[in-house]
C-alpha cells in the first residue's frame, strides 16, 4: 500500500487531499475516472480513487466513522444505483475478495452510464428494473449478504423490506439511506425517520434490528443513514 494512505475500513483507505481528510478506494479498473474523481497513483502504478462524501450517501456513512458491514467477499444488492458513482467504489471494495454487486436502476439515462461502468468492471451486474418490484428480478439475484438502498421514493422503508424478504440472508445487513424530503416535503424530518424505522422494525417478512442510525449532515441535508440486521424468522 502506498505510504500516503493508511487502512480505514474494509477496502477503504484514508489519506489527505489539500490537507483535508479524504477517503480512497483501490481502483479495480485503472486508467479510468468514473465521475471525475481525483486519482492518486502509487509507485508501482496502483491507483486509488478519492471518494467524495458529498456525492455518495455510503461515502458519507464511511466518513462518519460508522462500521459498514461490506467486506471484500460480500454479495451486495444495490438499489437505486443511478449512474454508478457509489457503485464504482463498492465495486472497488469487492474487487479483492470476489464479491459481487447487483445494481438495480429504473431510469434510462443513468442506466446507460451504469451499463458502461459494468462493461469495465467484472463484479457489477446491471439490472434495468424497478426496485419496488423485486419479483421482476428474482430470476437474476441470488441471496445476498448486504442490501444497500438509496432510492428517494415515497415508500423507501417498504421497498427495503420487500427486497429483504426476497433476497437478504438471515443475519444479513441492510444499509438504508432515508431521504425525508421524498417521503413528505412538509413534515418534520425527525418524525419521518422514526416512522420509517418503525416500519423496518415491525414488518413481518423481514424483521430488522436497528444497529445504528446517523444523520448524514453536513454532506447530505435531511438524510439519515440506517444500518440494520435482519433477524431470522422463528
Amino acid at each position: 500500500m502506498a505510504d500516503f494512505l493508511k487502512p480505514y475500513s474494509n477496502g477503504v483507505y484514508e489519506g489527505r487531499m489539500r490537507g483535508k481528510f479524504q477517503l480512497y478506494t483501490k481502483s479495480a479498473a485503472p486508467n479510468f475516472s468514473v465521475y471525475g474523481e481525483k486519482i492518486m497513483k502509487d509507485d508501482d502504478g496502483t491507483e486509488y480513487r478519492s471518494w467524495d462524501p458529498k456525492r455518495s450517501k455510503l461515502g458519507a456513512l464511511y466518513q462518519k466513522k460508522i462500521q459498514i458491514p461490506i467486506t471484500a467477499d460480500s454479495r451486495v444488492l444495490y438499489l437505486g444505483a443511478a449512474s454508478g458513482t457509489t457503485v464504482s467504489h463498492v465495486s472497488d471494495i469487492l474487487a479483492e475478495g470476489g464479491g459481487v454487486v447487483y445494481t438495480v436502476e429504473f431510469s434510462e439515462r443513468p442506466m446507460r452510464d451504469l451499463v458502461m461502468l459494468a462493461e469495465k468492471r467484472d463484479n457489477i451486474i446491471p439490472i434495468f428494473s424497478d426496485a419496488a418490484r423485486p419479483e421482476l428480478y428474482v430470476p437474476i439475484v441470488e441471496s445476498v449478504d448486504v442490501i444497500f438502498q438509496d432510492v428517494a421514493q415515497l415508500n423507501q422503508a417498504e421497498i427495503a423490506c420487500k427486497n429483504a424478504a426476497y433476497f437478504l440472508k438471515d443475519g444479513g445487513h441492510l444499509i438504508l439511506s432515508i431521504k425525508a424530503r421524498s417521503v413528505d416535503v412538509a413534515k418534520n424530518p425527525k418524525k419521518i425517520f422514526t416512522e420509517e424505522i418503525k416500519i423496518l422494525e415491525k414488518n413481518e417478512n423481514a424483521p430488522f434490528k436497528i444497529l445504528k442510525t446517523a444523520d448524514l449532515a453536513p454532506f447530505h441535508v435531511d438524510h439519515m443513514g440506517v444500518i440494520a440486521v435482519k433477524n431470522s424468522r422463528k
Binding site: 470476489g98 459481487v100 434510462e108 442506466m111 446507460r112 451504469l114 451499463v115 459494468a118 462493461e119 467484472d122 463484479n123 457489477i124 451486474i125 446491471p126 439490472i127 434495468f128 428494473s129 419479483e135 421482476l136 428480478y137 428474482v138 430470476p139 437474476i140 441470488e142 441471496s143 424478504a165 426476497y166 433476497f167 416535503v185 412538509a186 417478512n205 424468522r233
Partner: protein, 351 residues
C-alpha cells in the same frame, strides 16, 4: 394415493436466469431440517445454448406481466428458503467456479440491459424530447433576435417590426438602413455580418416549424385524445412534466391540475397559504379566459378530462388510435353547468 402423498405432488415452478427451477410447494410451509435447498431442482435443461437466447429469455421474464401487482406463487418460496442459484448453475454445468458464474451472469445481464435500453425510447419519449427541444429553440431564437434588434437598430432606428418580420427584413434588405435619418452610417461589412446573423435565426425558425409538426404528428398518433382535450403543445408539455404517457395516465387528476405549480403547492402544504388552482394547464384558453371565480372549478373539471383522455390513450389499442368524443362533450357539459350555476358572478365579470 393418500392426502399426504397428493400434497407432495404439488410442484411449483419459477424462472431463474439459467433455466426453469421447480420446487415443492409443501416443503415451503413446514420446518425443513435436511439439506437446505434440497427441494429445489432444475426441471428443464438449462438455456445455455447462447447468451443471446438467454438474454431474450430474461427480457421476457423481466417484463413479464409488467401490469401484475405481484407474482403470488413466488412469495411463499422466498419467504422460507431461497434456492442457491450458484449451486444450481454449477450442477447444470453452466459455471464451474464462482468467478465463472458471476462473469457469465454479468455478460448476460449487460446484454439484457442493452436490449431493454435500446427498446426504451418509446413514441411518448420522443414527444418529450421534441417539446424540450422546442423550448430550447424558443429560448435561443429570442436571445439571438434580441441581439440582432439591438445591433441593427443602431443603423436603422426607425424600423419597427414584430420579431420574426424584423429578422426577415434584415436577412432580405439590410442595405435599406441607408434610408435612415438617425442611424449610423452602415458599412458594407457590418451589414454582411448582420445579414448572415439574421439568416441563421431564420433557419432556426424553420427548425422550430419542423419540430412543431413532428410533435403534432407524434401526439396525434400516440395520444389522440390528449391532443383533442389539451391541444398538441400543452399535451406534449404535460407528457414531458409527467415523464411519459404511462406516468400521466397513472396520475390522479388533482396532481395534473397543479402540475407546474409545485412551488405554490409546497408553500400551501407547509404553511397555511392557499392551494394553487392550476399549474401548466392554465395555458389552455378554456382556463385563462374563464371568469376568475370559476377558474378553480373549471380547472378541476378540465384536469379530470385530461386525466381521462391520457388513460384512454394509454390503455387503448395503440395501433388503432381513436378519439372518444364523450370526453370533450362531457367536459363542455360540466363547464356549462358550472357557468350556469354562478350567473351572477359571470355577470360581474362581464360588467
Amino acid at each position: 394415493m393418500s392426502d399426504a402423498e397428493k400434497k407432495f405432488e404439488k410442484i411449483g415452478k419459477f424462472e431463474a436466469w439459467f433455466g426453469t427451477v421447480s420446487y415443492n410447494e409443501n416443503h415451503a410451509g413446514c420446518n425443513h431440517t435436511g439439506s437446505d435447498f434440497s427441494y429445489f431442482s432444475l426441471s428443464e435443461k438449462p438455456l445455455i445454448s447462447t447468451s443471446l437466447e438467454l438474454s431474450d429469455h430474461l427480457i421476457s421474464v423481466l417484463s413479464f406481466s409488467q401490469n401484475l401487482r405481484s407474482i403470488s406463487s413466488l412469495k411463499p418460496v422466498f419467504q422460507n428458503e431461497k434456492p442457491n442459484y450458484r449451486e444450481m448453475a454449477k450442477e447444470s454445468g453452466l459455471a464451474e467456479t464462482d468467478f465463472e458464474y458471476v462473469s457469465t451472469l454479468r455478460e448476460i445481464a449487460i446484454q439484457t440491459a442493452r436490449k431493454q435500453l435500446s427498446a426504451s425510447l418509446t413514441e411518448d419519449k420522443k414527444v418529450i424530447q421534441a417539446v424540450e427541444a422546442l423550448d430550447d429553440l424558443n429560448e435561443t431564437i429570442n436571445h439571438l433576435t434580441e441581439r440582432l434588434v439591438e445591433w441593427y437598430s443602431a443603423y436603422y432606428p426607425e424600423l419597427d417590426l414584430p420579431s420574426e418580420a424584423y429578422v426577415r427584413f434584415v436577412s432580405e434588405i439590410p442595405e435599406s438602413a441607408s434610408q435612415s435619418l438617425m442611424g449610423a452610417p452602415a458599412a458594407h461589412e457590418d451589414l454582411i455580418l448582420l445579414q448572415s446573423w439574421a439568416d441563421d435565426i431564420l433557419s432556426l425558425y424553420d427548425r422550430k416549424a419542423a419540430v412543431e409538426s413532428f410533435i403534432e404528428l407524434k401526439m396525434k398518433e400516440t395520444a389522440p385524445n390528449l391532443s383533442q382535450i389539451a391541444g398538441v403543445v400543452l399535451g406534449a408539455r404535460l407528457l414531458s412534466m409527467a415523464g411519459g404517457l404511462k406516468n400521466l395516465a397513472a396520475m390522479p387528476s388533482g396532481s395534473i391540475q397543479v402540475m407546474g405549480a409545485e412551488k405554490a403547492m409546497v408553500k400551501h402544504l407547509r404553511s397555511n397559504a392557499p392551494s394553487p388552482k392550476h399549474g401548466i394547464i392554465f395555458s389552455h384558453p378554456m382556463l385563462n379566459t374563464a371568469p376568475f371565480r370559476l377558474r378553480g372549478k373549471i380547472a378541476r373539471a378540465y384536469a379530470a378530462a385530461v386525466s381521462l383522455s391520457a388513460r384512454t390513450d394509454y390503455y387503448s389499442d395503440s395501433s388503432n388510435p381513436e378519439i372518444n368524443p364523450k370526453i370533450e362533450s362531457g367536459l363542455n357539459d360540466k363547464i356549462n353547468r358550472l357557468k350556469q350555476a354562478a350567473p351572477s358572478q359571470n355577470q360581474k365579470e362581464a360588467n
